[in-house]
Amino acid sequence: MAHNDNDSRLSAQQDFELLVSRYYSTLYQFAFSLTRNEDDAVDLTQQTFYTWARKGHQLRDASKVKTWLFTTLYHEFLEKRRRQVRFPHHELSEVNQDLPNIAPASVNELDSATVLQSLARLEETFQAPVALFYLEEHSYKEIADILGIPLGTVKSRISRGIAQLQQILTHDPGPQPARRGRPTHE
């Protein structure tokens, strides 16, 4: 019987590894697009998977795992942000630095940092829908589920958010914050 117990632990471990392998990159990218901070994005991503380890068994529809993970991460982000608004903290490494403006013709030369910085300048309600739009992991219905808003609102926010993003990127990409260092790959 101990053998069965070991089997179930092994199976749970394998399922968890599979889940992490499949989704950790895109979850991190979504987290980073929300926080623009590597440490916070790492924390959010880890916390999401540990929440899954604790509560995931409550999800009956296996096809909704991906949406569940993104929804959980978004809730964690909102919760953390609520606390940070109440107890804001500032770090020297987050002091803004100037970036040169980008002409419309050089849109093709944009890098990830500039795109993210421009995303941060969108109206707040547009930021998460636009990030999920560009990550291309979800249908519009799933994005609505993740954000907990109606489908029509999602579509409208994405259209308006993209238009605003284009406006920012082609006219005034603005300043870029320094990023805190951690070794990266991929």
Partner: protein, 248 residues
């Protein structure tokens, strides 16, 4: 479809997804084929979208993140207690005890139908562990699910609860009567549980719309009645904390 609407739709078209199967996109795409000016505009937009999308997808992921996540994993194994040898060897004894228990049960009055017993049962169940029938953040979907199950779906939520994301919902039974359970996500792994029952099914249900507070286990519980419905709201923290979700 006018050109402006077509542009708004085409702005969020993603060719590498299933977007094209949506009739809204299909119509706008057709229009872009027929209208050269719209077609040119669309081609520019797609080039722009591809650039931004590529930058999103190229966001570097920290080295070792996957390993960090896996290293911190602690499996939650729900013990299958009946498979333990010690329990198997006790099965016969348990059967005897069960027989005695059944005899005792039938000789006793049935579970109390009072409101206090109801409240105690549903709140303790929430603390012991439960499985939601539907898991979603969308409170509208929870309400819709409860309606399709014939459970109470006409409940009126206090304004602060309306603003919380859902966690899910379930249909419970109390003396063969339906009880709706709606879970709200407070973040930080905390939930609020709302139970909605038919007021007439609970003989001594609170009559007032002003909530009455009590403590059951680790949860603070508020109960009140409005119209034909009786509500029980259970959550972590003290009375003041729970009260925040009842008043606008």
């Amino acid at each position: 479809m006018n050109s402006r609407l077509a542009k708004e739709i085409l702005l969020r078209y993603r060719p590498s997804t299933n977007d094209a199967s949506d009739p809204e996109f299909a119509e706008a795409l057709e229009q872009a084929k027929r209208d050269p000016e719209l077609g040119r505009w669309f081609a520019q937009q797609q080039a722009f979208r591809n650039t931004i999308r590529d930058q999103f997808k190229q966001l570097p992921v920290p080295a070792g993140l996957k390993e960090e996540i896996l290293a911190g994993y602690r499996p939650v194994v729900i013990p299958v207690w009946w498979q333990q040898p010690v329990f198997q060897s006790l099965a016969a004894a348990a059967a005897i005890v069960l027989l005695i228990g059944v005899a005792f049960f039938w000789s006793q009055p049935r579970e109390e139908r009072s409101f206090a017993a109801f409240q105690n049962r549903v709140v303790r169940n929430a603390q012991r562990g439960y499985v939601m029938d539907i898991t979603t953040t969308n409170l509208g979907e929870v309400r819709q699910y409860l309606a399709t199950q014939g459970a109470h779906a006409d409940y009126v939520l206090p304004a602060p609860l309306e603003k919380l994301p859902g966690d899910g919902g379930a249909v419970l039974r109390w003396h063969n009567k339906t009880v709706s359970m709606v879970c709200f996500d407070l973040g930080n792994h905390n939930d609020l549980y709302l139970f909605v029952a038919n007021r007439a099914d609970l003989p001594d249900a609170p009559s007032a719309s002003e909530p009455h507070f009590t403590q059951i286990g680790k949860l603070t519980v508020a109960s009140w009645s409005t119209g034909d419905r009786t509500y029980v709201l259970a959550g972590p923290g003290d009375e003041q904390f729970v009260r925040r979700y009842l008043r606008p």
